[in-house]
């Protein structure tokens, strides 16, 4: 059963020549052969969205994608998001709002969000929810993620006053206490 395939993958803008067991998924090859462990896995069955990467700009569950079919396609992972040592606006907003708690779903969320913003630079909260609905998060209750994507979209649009509402950072004003 030991069949191996050799392929050239274009990952985060660079060509990588890899040899891998033919039946291995993109998830496995990214993590094991490419050393890109930023992409996570929660089920390996297409159920959780944790392993989301972009293939030709589209979000794909890497646990269901056969690496052997990836030759010539452009693959983007969380490691390719930042610009040098500068965080992508999505990354910065996720970090600042605690949209990454344990951070395990985060790489998948970030990639799915990136695909959304590429299509729609001013998504509504409902559109964000729909775009990310295939990605499970057990920590955050999702709100901080939606707020982070909204913030990042504002930053990407160059809005000077983009930023979370006071309530997002401090909680709602307690009724009867003024402020």
């Amino acid at each position: 059963m030991d069949h191996y395939t050799t392929a050239t993958l274009r990952v985060n803008g660079q060509d990588l020549r890899v040899v891998f067991p033919t039946h291995h998924t993109l998830l496995e090859v990214l993590r094991e052969e490419c050393g890109l462990t930023g992409t996570k896995h929660g089920c390996e069955l297409g159920e959780c969205g944790t392993c989301t990467v972009l293939v030709d700009g589209e979000p794909v569950l890497s646990c269901l994608a056969l690496t052997a079919e990836m030759e010539g396609r452009s693959i983007e992972t969380v490691e390719g998001l930042q610009d040098g040592n500068e965080l992508h606006p999505l990354q910065a907003a996720f970090a600042d709002l605690g949209a990454a708690q344990c951070g395990y779903c985060t790489p998948g969320m970030l990639m799915a969000a990136k695909a959304l913003l590429a299509e729609n630079d001013d998504p509504s909260a409902a559109e964000i929810r729909t775009a990310l609905a295939g990605n499970l998060c057990r920590c955050t209750g999702y709100h901080k993620i939606v707020e982070a994507v909204e913030w990042a979209a504002g930053v990407a649009r160059g809005e000077a006053d983009a930023g979370p509402a006071r309530e997002v950072l401090f909680g709602a004003s307690v009724p009867g206490e003024g402020s």
């Binding site: 159920e47 600042d96 605690g98 990454a100 951070g103």
Partner: protein, 850 residues
Amino acid sequence: MTPPRSGQVIAPDQAPPASAPGSTQEDDLRVVGTPFRRVDGWAKVTGQTRFADDLTFPRMVHMRLVRSTLPHAFIRGIDTSKAEEMPGVVGVLTGKDMPEPFGVLPVSQDEHALCLEKVRFVGDPVVAVAALTEDQAADACSAVTIEYEPLATISSVDEAIETSEPLIHDYGDEGNLHKKISLQFGAVDDGFAQADEIFEDVMFYEGSTHLPMEQHAAVAVPEGGGRITLYTSTQTPHYVHKVLATVLGMPASRVRVIACSVGGGFGGKSDIFSHEIVAAKMALVTGRPVKICLNREEVFYCHRGRHPVLMHLRTGFTKDGAMVAQHLKTALDGGAYGSYGVASTYYTGALQTVTYGLPRYRFDSIRAFTNKPPCGPKRGHATVQPRFALEVHLDKAAQRLGIDPADLRLNNLLPPDSITANYLKVGTIGLGACIQAVVDGSGWRERFQSLPHGRGLGLACGSYLTGAGLPIHWNHLPQSAVQLKLDRMGTVAAYCGEAEIGQGSDSVLAACVAEVLGIGLDDVLLCVGDTGLTPVDLGSYSSRVTLMVGRAAIQAAERARDRLAEAVAEKLDVPADRLVFAESRVFDSGNPENGMPFAEAVQRAEEKFGALATTGSYAPPRAPGRYRGSGVGPSPTYSYSASVIEVEVDPETGLYRVEHVWIAHDIGRAINPVLTIGQVEGSVYMGLGEAMMEEQVFRRLPKNRSNALVHKVPSMLEYKSPTFHEMPPVTTYLIEDPDPEGPFGAKEVGQGPLLPIMPALANAIFDAVGVRIDQVPIGPHMIRKAVEDKAAGGDGRYGPKAFPDIDFGVPLMVPTPDEGGDGRATNSEEAGVRKGSGTMADGVRKDSKP
């Protein structure tokens, strides 16, 4: 984009009381109270955070486990010969390679790294195989044959009560009952006799699992000098360390456990797991690093999640809604092993007294062994189930007594600085303010009972520990410790055994140090969760970290500040008590120009004292209870939460949607408000999951197959949990009233806000369509059935009918403080201490000492 680091303090004019640890008179908090970027945030958004499965080592091999396919059976033979011959295989282990029993609690040493003579649930690990690749290990596992002799399966509490043979374990209080408790605080019968009304309810809370996104993983690395290092996704590296040394038969000084960043814990990674021990053993046997990452199905088998609990609650009320006596009975389905179960059993009764006045209280409980994955602690531990029962019970009482449910609670709040009937010492209580906030925020006064049919509001409250008062291994040692190393370049390294599981414990540690020393968060370097390098912290459970690590950090930092101040005072010729540490400088408060950079202050102190390192530690105050069982429930302080939920129900179909959640949490002080809100929202989410859909349930395979009791849904697709679409809008109120025990006044937030959610939903459904669903999760079919029942003249209730008839014997009688009690039981001789008492036959093991 600049991080919101400079956000203003939420209540700038509200200085903490001088007694709150870490605060000073002229307190002007700069870090604490601001929504700063979490210190591990950068790594988490770049993919740099290394979880256990992200690690690789030279010569590393991969391990898989062969797990039982039967729920209850003797192992009659294991044949690994074929597997050993398979390509790439480097090692095979069975139970006899690690015969030493273990368990997280000293009283429940009932597990083996691999099963010895018996398997006790489908998924119990029997054989381990290591090979060069994971594929090879998996192939070799399929070549292992195990011969079983099946035993009758115990699938429920009822079956456990009825079936004393076969025994799942050869210890326990009675037959297949692991633990049996009966406690009576005060003259309960007299209390009932004084009641104007007595109400009774039977309720059921289904089991659920943590479902962390990260599957458990561990890598064991053999090191020189006969040492072993285990990298693992754990919330409790200290406990893993102890058990590993015991089972491997090695001096603890040669065993090192490093808690990797945990990809979601929620209690599910606070036990010691078979795969951790076996990986270490395999590494020692093969001389190679060994990795194992469980698949999702195996994560469901590890479990240690929410116990299914059946509850019977009987309470006497006065006409105006005050409770005069209560009798709570709980029955826990424990699964196949002890785990934290004895503590869980006590927790189903312990915190019933900390929210509202309850002068007399009786609590009876059993925990049954069943042939299912073991239950243990999940967010809120076992206080969640009885809280659901109590808050729904109170809602019904309010309705019957004609009192608004908010008023019933507000009128009967436990006063601050109380000692409860079961001897819990409660300090600050922000519950009244929490109720007020959600009542006002939701428009409760105008809208409750006034919304159109199908729309409803429900209110409920909760409380949780800010750290368990007693350690698992009984001792008087600190429960948390921090060491600081001050570097002449101005870096402060903080060492602490705490485990970051996503809750933000690293950020709390860094913030406390930075605040006291007046330096930036980025000047604090952390080394955490490493039993070889860091002082012991007991781990991330019982919501203990913010308070205990925070207090230890403040003590260590204050000691460092004192040393620096002494040296700087000499240098600047000003009294030490006039020095201010802020903005990475140390200066004279009377003349801010007269000062020096922090790094120079360290140099002056190093000249004077030599190399600089300080320590700090924390041990909780002693609790007043002296009876057997009083160790479960005490805490340095309790957090409080209140929630109002608005729901829209279609009475025809029973389908419902949560429209809005208002929640207020008594946080004492938010160390970092944005992370605090994240914990609240995460708790609301997880509570809604349990209230609406999550269930860890089992089914039997057909008779013509094995008839085995198997997990119904060991996959993420089938185990339903809320997605973005099910999460309603949440309005969060942080109630800040600094607590004298908490660091800068902070209480816990990771677990408490979950507690009011399930009962608030059930109560909201009643307001919407007038039916009572006395169990969770609440399925649409339950609502529909109850609506139909009500239309047919029934009581419009869906839920369990009866609590099993159990002889709890003579309760342990503990007179309450009001009755002049001293915290001791008056009849320890005749009650409470049964044969075995849920413990191993040989009692507390010798290794229960630290």
